[in-house]
Symmetry: C2
Amino acid sequence: MPTRYAQRMAKVQPSAIGELLALGADPSIISFGGGYPDATLFPAAQLDAVFHEIIQKPGGASMQYAPSNGLPRLRDQIAGLMTADGMSCTADDVLILQGSQQGLDFAARMLIDPGDVIITEDPTFLGALIAFEPSQPRYAVVPVDAEGMQTDRLEAILTANPRAKMIYTVPDFQNPTGVTLSLARRKQLIALANRYDLIVLEDTPYRHIRFTGENLPTLKSLDTEGRVIHLCSFSKVLVPGLRIGWAVASPDILACMGLLKVAADTQTSTLNMAAASLFLDRYDLAAHIATLRAAYSAKKEAMLDAIRQHLPQDITATDPEGGLFTWLTFSEGFDTTDFMRRVALPQARVAYVPGATFFPLTPRANHARLNFSSPSLDAIRTGIAALGKALYANH
Amino acid sequence: MPTRYAQRMAKVQPSAIGELLALGADPSIISFGGGYPDATLFPAAQLDAVFHEIIQKPGGASMQYAPSNGLPRLRDQIAGLMTADGMSCTADDVLILQGSQQGLDFAARMLIDPGDVIITEDPTFLGALIAFEPSQPRYAVVPVDAEGMQTDRLEAILTANPRAKMIYTVPDFQNPTGVTLSLARRKQLIALANRYDLIVLEDTPYRHIRFTGENLPTLKSLDTEGRVIHLCSFSKVLVPGLRIGWAVASPDILACMGLLKVAADTQTSTLNMAAASLFLDRYDLAAHIATLRAAYSAKKEAMLDAIRQHLPQDITATDPEGGLFTWLTFSEGFDTTDFMRRVALPQARVAYVPGATFFPLTPRANHARLNFSSPSLDAIRTGIAALGKALYANH
């Protein structure tokens, strides 16, 4: 039977490059695709200990249903982490989510009527576009340079898009480019959000993995009007398999997102919330993050060294101050999707994410996103060398 | 700032009885509200063992990201369970969900344009209405009697509602009434869904907790046209804290729900999927369910005995063949919400869920849903006696 789907499903389609990316999962291929943290650094012994303790605790509370907005103790602990990062808040200001991905879905469902406009960086996080699509938005895009979203071009875009409701940004070590929004631009973004009455969706999964320099203030910490929804997550700093993220937002917005949480899935896993909470009580998350920073920084350096050594000189790479990704720009006319299908996968045995997929409106073919957190140092050196060899051979 | 929410949020509102139900969480009150399984029966030692084994396994796969549609091994195991229940299927026909609640959300998002009609039992599961609301449906309702939804009244309702897209039903030990849809009515429901080109959303969280009699065929097993979405879950038969449910549906529908899964939260927790999968490998779920059946059956008998002994004779209770709930009908004009606020909570120190909240269109005040799985046998006897005393005193 041909099912009569709702109109919102029209643009909910499989990724055009899904098949290509699936080829990268072949274990004989060195993958710079994905956005996986390094599994060899997962704190397995500590997680084993906290799961044991919460499951054995009399009463079985860790296995039972829990409040839809999250375990109160965990919300309190997260409020402490957020306050330490310049966003003064309490447990009441925190909603636990099924990864911060769920916050992207909720923000769009809460704000976007079909045809309303979401402003994004250009390029932007593909997963956010996937989360937004069922709410039927249109997009307006702001170019990105070494200091992140070019906020000096934002006002003209807002003037041209009266139905703009929300600005979506990954201000720290952006996905896919790795660039960080400068302080001056953070202030300008907030000023424009205030003037044009917009919500700002601040997505910060990589924020705490900084290699050099000092953290810049979050947009939420610069927000005086309750316009910023701050999303963060344990996926990159603890383990993705817990699926625990959170939102910090003003009471009216958080209440609305809390109602969507009840509707969407009742609650995040009690076991996982209890485990994360006990981990924070028993162990030093900051020390664990320091280990990740050192390891990922070394991998980033190895990747950029290998790029300088092995890739043709006309290819540029961003040098991120943190996070998981660098962004390659090839010469105009070079098509990274075509090259991956024809050469990189079958000959070089290397995968990356072709850049075209990250542009909401007008794909540009001459970019690639490379992840350095997941592959080993050896794989980084071997893979980039193989990529360079293939590029020279097909130049 | 007054946030300009999307239109879909207009009906996404806090439950009118939320405050009343919150009072029932006072530990000095005996609660027959909620729908919690008995935490004293959770298989804690087994879950402790499986979490230990998956976390310690080299490679860290249980803590890493996993496929969005679920771990292949778990999907295969669930396909085996479903096949054994008369729904022949493979892993490809199974989508892992964040509890079956997420399947309710996805079904509505996939099918319902604003103003489309969902057919429900009257009364029906409140959580389903909460899941459906953001998709802006209208409802048409079918009365329920001792054999479940009165399918002989369904055709007239379908004729009167040309925008009907989906029939939502809890065929086994329905929430809130505890009644079970008879085989003849199951067949009639499927025949009408075929004739009127509707999707059937079959929600079966309690199906495997049957006290007496034989299981009836699922609607999915009677479906010859790929119209039935079968939802089930480990929440009631293993532990709710895992948040693992699943859908079995035709390939086109499952693909659509899989795209919504990517958008909504990327994936269910890898740790929890791996733990459930290893539990199924290492332990005997059927034996565990047999323990639950015996325990809940004894509690149901205790509750019905106490009702017969202590409650006024004009109050009737359903005698469910399984599940978690019985449904009380008081005389016309009696208001269970008012009685709970004025008498049951403050004087009898007993909580239930007032029935009015379960009716999508026209609340009826003279019902209450009582849960017997969560309270102890003692609490059941004490609580019903106290309720009876309060009812006689306020007659």
